[in-house]
């Protein structure tokens, strides 16, 4: 099949790509490059955490005990489950079960909202207790150098992660609406695949944030 045939028969094929395989290949390549930059972005925050944990080991240990392990664990389970439902939704689009995919994505978005609400309760508690970065720190139980730094890192890393949850959630809502309109099919699903990849990255970052902030 010549490329002009391919363009005539496939409305999804952009004119600057020779074939749909090459177009999908380029889309996946770009997504993984973007995910690599995301990994390095969060790696910078993990490095900041590691350095100050190295300096203020005892303080960081004490303050990790003030976080709610119950809420942290619930949020971990929520995100892992949402990762499962996104993977299932992608599978459903690939086999042409669009209604099932919509249901699974709606459930995923609800998980994302649940995560943000729980995180909001945790933030409110910290504001009330004065567990805040820098000069705003006024928590009496744990004092000394490094205490406010723990919460600088806590709010930066969980805040950036929560921002990623909001972005990922928006992408998933957009995909849900597109699937409802019948935009994707077993021959054309790469956008769903990339949206799912982004959501898995959000899960991936939390898998490391959770033990580092809550458990050790």
């Amino acid at each position: 099949m010549s490329s002009s045939d391919a363009h005539a028969t496939n409305p999804h094929l952009a004119h600057h790509f020779d074939s749909i395989e090459k177009q999908d290949y380029a889309a996946r390549l770009a997504m993984w490059l973007f995910l690599a930059t995301e990994i390095l972005l969060f790696a910078g925050l993990f490095l900041g955490y590691s350095v100050y944990r190295h300096f203020y080991h005892e303080t960081f240990h004490e303050l990790s005990r003030t976080l709610s392990i119950t809420l942290g664990t619930i949020n971990t389970v929520v995100l892992i489950t949402s990762s499962l439902t996104v993977a299932l939704a992608f599978h459903a689009v690939k086999v042409g079960k669009n209604n099932q995919a919509v249901g699974l994505l709606v459930f995923t978005v609800l998980c994302a909202i649940a995560f943000l609400v729980i995180k909001g309760f945790e933030y409110r508690h910290k504001f009330e207790e004065g567990m805040l970065p820098g000069q705003f720190y006024s928590y009496k139980e744990v004092t000394g150098p490094g205490a406010n730094l723990y919460f600088t890192i806590y709010f930066l890393s969980t805040g950036l992660h929560a921002f990623h949850v909001i972005v990922g959630m928006s992408v998933l809502i957009w995909l849900t609406l597109r699937i409802k309109r019948g935009a994707y099919s077993p021959n054309h699903y790469v956008a769903v695949e990339l949206g799912a990849l982004y959501w898995h990255l959000v899960d991936l970052v939390w898998i490391f944030l959770f033990p580092l902030l809550y458990l050790i």
Partner: protein
């Protein structure tokens, strides 16, 4: 259109491997939950020096499961695998580069309030 026949047939085995059932997603999910419970239990046991390595090991196992199966790294093109692995390598270079500095500093160069037992004596 003549070459369409062979191509369709050639892509069939590939499609079969992509078309694995959803069971594997549920297995991965169950494993992730088991590892989450494990890390919560061991994290609160206060295992001392073992705490950090154990938590990071469990987190790495969970991340590997997510990347390999939820993110389909097992089926990804070679280029994409290289990009992912190289990004991890650079993250490690950054972390170990900085710690190479921290571990070899003299106490006087450390921030205020850091216990002076850290770092080699002058």
């Amino acid at each position: 259109m003549a070459d369409q026949g062979p191509r369709t047939r050639a892509s069939e085995p590939e499609h079969a491997s992509h078309g694995h059932g959803v069971a594997r997603y549920f297995i991965v999910w169950a494993l992730l939950l088991v590892f989450t419970v494990t890390t919560v239990l061991t994290g609160r046991m206060d295992l001392g020096a073992m705490n950090l390595p154990l938590a990071l090991t469990i987190a790495s196992i969970k991340a590997t499961l997510v990347v390999l199966f939820f993110m389909h790294m097992t089926e990804a093109a070679g280029t994409n695998r290289i990009i992912f692995v190289v990004s991890l390598l650079f993250a490690l270079v950054m972390i170990f580069g900085v710690f190479g500095d921290l571990w070899t500093r003299s106490p006087m160069t450390l921030p205020n309030g850091v216990p002076s037992t850290l770092g080699p004596e002058l």
